[in-house]
Symmetry: C2
Subunit: 341 residues, 2 copies
DNA sequence: TGAGCGCTCTGCAACGATGCAGACATAATG
DNA sequence: CATTATGTCTGCATCGTTGCAGAGCGCTCA
C-alpha cells in the first residue's frame, strides 16, 4: 500500500536521500549525470512525494476549507465553484464541508479535535454559530466569514449590503406600481440576522416611497428552501387582501412562490410580481424567468480568498469588513415578456 | 502562528510528552491526579493536536476526495451531499474538487505532484480521462469511479444501468401514445460513453415497441446544461415534423427544453411531453414539474464510499461493478396536472 | 522476604520529508 | 604552491506525533 520513499529511491540510485530530494524539487544544483541516474530510479519506482510529510516539515498544507450550510443549495454550489477557482489561482485547493446548518456541526469545526488544523485557513459561512462563540474558541486557524451575519469586527467578513439589496428589490416592485408588496423569509430570532437585514431593507424601501408596511405581508420562514416559499405564498394568497407582489429573501423561496402561484392559477407577473435574491442559474431558465438581486459571487469568492491568504501570511491588520457589490437583474417575473434569450 | 505542541504541554505539566499524548488520546491508563494536572495544562495552552503530524505517523488522513466535473450542476451537488453524509458515517471527511470536465485537470490529479496522496482514497467522476489512462498512471491511491463511463474491470465502479434508465424514460413516452419522440444529449464520440448508452436505451425502447427511430430526432449536445437543452429544442421545433415528446439525457437539458417550448408557445405536456434524468430537486418545483428517471443517489454514495473504504482497508478483491437502482417519477411534464403537492 | 505481577509512566525511535552546515573535489587566484 | 572560491553532494537534526519496550513502584502471595 505504502509507496516508495526518498530512501528507497536513494538506495536504488546509490545516492543520498538529500540528493534525491534535490532532484525532485530542483532545489540545489545536481550534476547532469547524477540527475539522470536519480531520474531513472524515480521512474522505475514511480515515486510520489508524501505530501503529509512535506506538509509537516513546512508547516502548511496548501489547502483551505470552505464550510457551508448546504452544498446542494444552488447559491452555495455556485459560490463554491468560484471559491475553488479563486483558490486555485493562488495554488491552493479547497476542501468543502457542509454543516446542514446544524449549530453543533458548526461548533465541531472549532472544537479541540476538529480537522480544521489540517487546513491553512477556513472560509466559514455560519448559520447558527455566533461571532461570540467563534472568538471564544480562540481558533488557531485563520478564518474569513462569508455571508451576512452581523459581526463585530472580530473576524474578516465578506458580504453584500443586505439592507441595500433588499431595498433595491422592494423599490423595484414599488416602482412598478405594486402597492401590496409581501416579503417572504423573515427570521425574527437570534440567528436570523441576515433575514432581519433584508426585512429592514424592505421596510426602508416602503418608507422612502412614503408607504406603510402591512405586517401581515411579512411571512417568516424557518429556512430558505423552495417548499417553504411555496407554503408561504399559499398563506399569502389565502389572505382577504392578497399581495400583488412578493420580495423573497432568496431565489429558492421565490421559485417555490412562483410554483405556488402557478398552481393557484395566478399569473406571474400580471397578478403577482416576484423578486428573488442570489441570482442562481436556475432563475434564468424558470418559467417565468426570475427577477433577482445578484450578488457578485466571483468577487465575493476572490475577496474572501485574498483576505484569507493575507491572514495566513500574517499580513492582515484589523479584520476588514468587505462589502461586495450587487445589482438588480430584471426578468420576466416582474417585467413580463422580456428579451427572448 | 504555530500553536503549542505536546512538548509545551508536557513541560508545563511537568510530565513526559508521552503521558500528555496518552491523556489526549485516552490510550493508556493515567492516574486521576496526573490526568487532572495535564488537563489543566492542556486547557491553559489551548492545545490542539497537529493532525498533519498524527497523519504522518499513522499513515492515513481520514480524508477522501470527491472529484466531479462541476459542483454547481445540481446532480453533482446533490450527490456530493450524499457522499459527505455517507463518509461522515464512517468518520471520514470529504474534500471536493471540480475539474470543469477538463481532461488535463483530471489528469493532473493522477500526476506525480498531485495532492491525491493527501487522501486515503479518491471518488472520481471522470469526464474525459479514460480507464486506460487511469490504469497507466498506476496510481497508488485507492480509486472508485462514479457515474457512467464504461470501464473494463480495472477499477471499482458505481453507476445506474444507463441503458435501462433511458429505455424506461422513452418507453414511458411511447406508452403515452407519443409517436415522434426526440432525444436530446447524444455524444457520438470517444468520451461520450454515457450518452451513447442512453441513446442505446432510447433505441431499445423503440425497437421493443416495434417502432422505427427517426435519426433526425436525436440531437447531440456538447454538454448537459440548460442552455444547450433550450437550443436543441429550438432546433427540433424548426423541423418540418417536430416531435411530440422529448427524452433529455439529464434534467438540466430537460428544463432548458421546457423553457424553449414555453417561450415558443408550446404547451407541456399537451403539445410536447418532456422527460429528464437525474431527479434534481429543481424538477419538483419547475413549471410544469418534471417527469424524470431518478437514480438512487443515496445508494450510489453509500455504495461508493463503502467500496472505497474496503479498498483502503485492502479488503477488496476484484473490482466490483456496482449497479444502483433507478425509478421513473412521473410528474406534470408528461402527465399534465397531477397531485397538487 | 523476595519473586512476580500489574499499574503508571517514560524515553527512544520512527513516520517521510526538508533546512542547514559542512565535506569533498576541483578550479581559480595571488 | 598555498589559499580561497566554486560547485556537488552528504549527514544530521528536525517537524509533532505515536508505537514500542521497558523502568520504577507498590502490592500480593508463597
Amino acid at each position: 500500500m505504502a509507496g516508495p520513499t526518498l530512501r528507497d529511491v536513494a538506495k536504488l540510485a546509490n545516492v543520498s536521500i538529500r540528493t534525491v530530494s534535490n532532484v525532485v524539487n530542483g532545489y540545489a544544483p545536481v550534476s547532469d549525470e547524477l540527475r539522470a541516474r536519480v531520474q531513472v530510479a524515480l521512474d522505475e519506482l514511480d515515486y510520489r512525494p508524501n505530501l503529509i510529510a512535506r506538509n509537516l516539515k513546512q508547516g502548511r498544507t496548501g489547502m483551505i476549507a470552505l464550510v457551508v450550510p448546504e452544498l446542494d443549495v444552488p447559491y452555495f454550489a455556485e459560490l463554491a465553484r468560484e471559491v475553488i477557482k479563486a483558490a486555485r489561482a493562488h495554488g491552493y485547493v479547497v476542501m468543502i464541508d457542509q454543516t446542514d446548518g446544524d449549530g453543533d456541526r458548526e461548533r465541531e469545526l472549532l472544537g479541540r479535535d476538529s480537522r480544521a488544523t489540517m487546513f491553512d485557513g477556513l472560509l466559514l459561512s455560519p448559520l447558527s454559530v455566533s461571532a461570540e462563540e467563534l472568538r471564544a474558541r480562540g481558533n488557531r486557524v485563520p478564518i474569513v466569514l462569508l455571508g451576512e451575519h452581523i459581526f463585530n469586527g472580530s473576524f474578516p467578513h465578506v458580504a453584500i449590503d443586505n439592507v441595500a439589496a433588499a431595498r433595491d428589490a422592494t423599490a423595484h416592485l414599488l416602482e412598478l406600481g405594486r402597492r401590496r408588496v409581501a416579503a417572504i423569509g423573515d427570521q425574527p430570532y437570534a440567528t436570523g440576522e441576515t433575514a432581519q437585514l433584508r426585512t429592514a431593507g424592505y421596510r426602508q424601501a416602503h418608507a422612502r416611497a412614503g408607504l406603510d408596511v402591512d405586517d401581515e405581508l411579512i411571512v417568516p420562514t424557518a429556512h430558505f428552501h423552495r417548499r417553504l416559499g411555496a407554503e408561504a405564498m399559499e398563506r399569502l394568497l389565502a389572505l382577504p387582501e392578497p399581495p400583488d407582489a412578493v420580495f423573497c429573501y432568496n431565489d429558492l423561496l421565490a421559485l417555490g412562490a412562483i410554483r405556488a402561484l402557478t398552481r393557484a392559477g395566478r399569473r406571474v407577473p400580471d397578478d403577482v410580481a416576484v423578486v428573488g435574491l442570489d441570482d442562481i442559474e436556475e432563475g434564468q431558465y424558470s418559467t417565468p424567468s426570475l427577477t433577482t438581486v445578484a450578488p457578485d459571487k466571483g468577487e465575493i469568492a476572490r475577496r474572501a480568498v485574498d483576505t484569507l491568504l493575507e491572514s495566513i501570511r500574517g499580513e492582515l491588520g484589523t479584520p476588514p469588513e468587505i462589502v461586495v457589490p450587487h445589482r438588480l437583474i430584471v426578468r420576466e417575473s416582474t417585467a413580463g415578456e422580456v428579451s427572448p434569450r
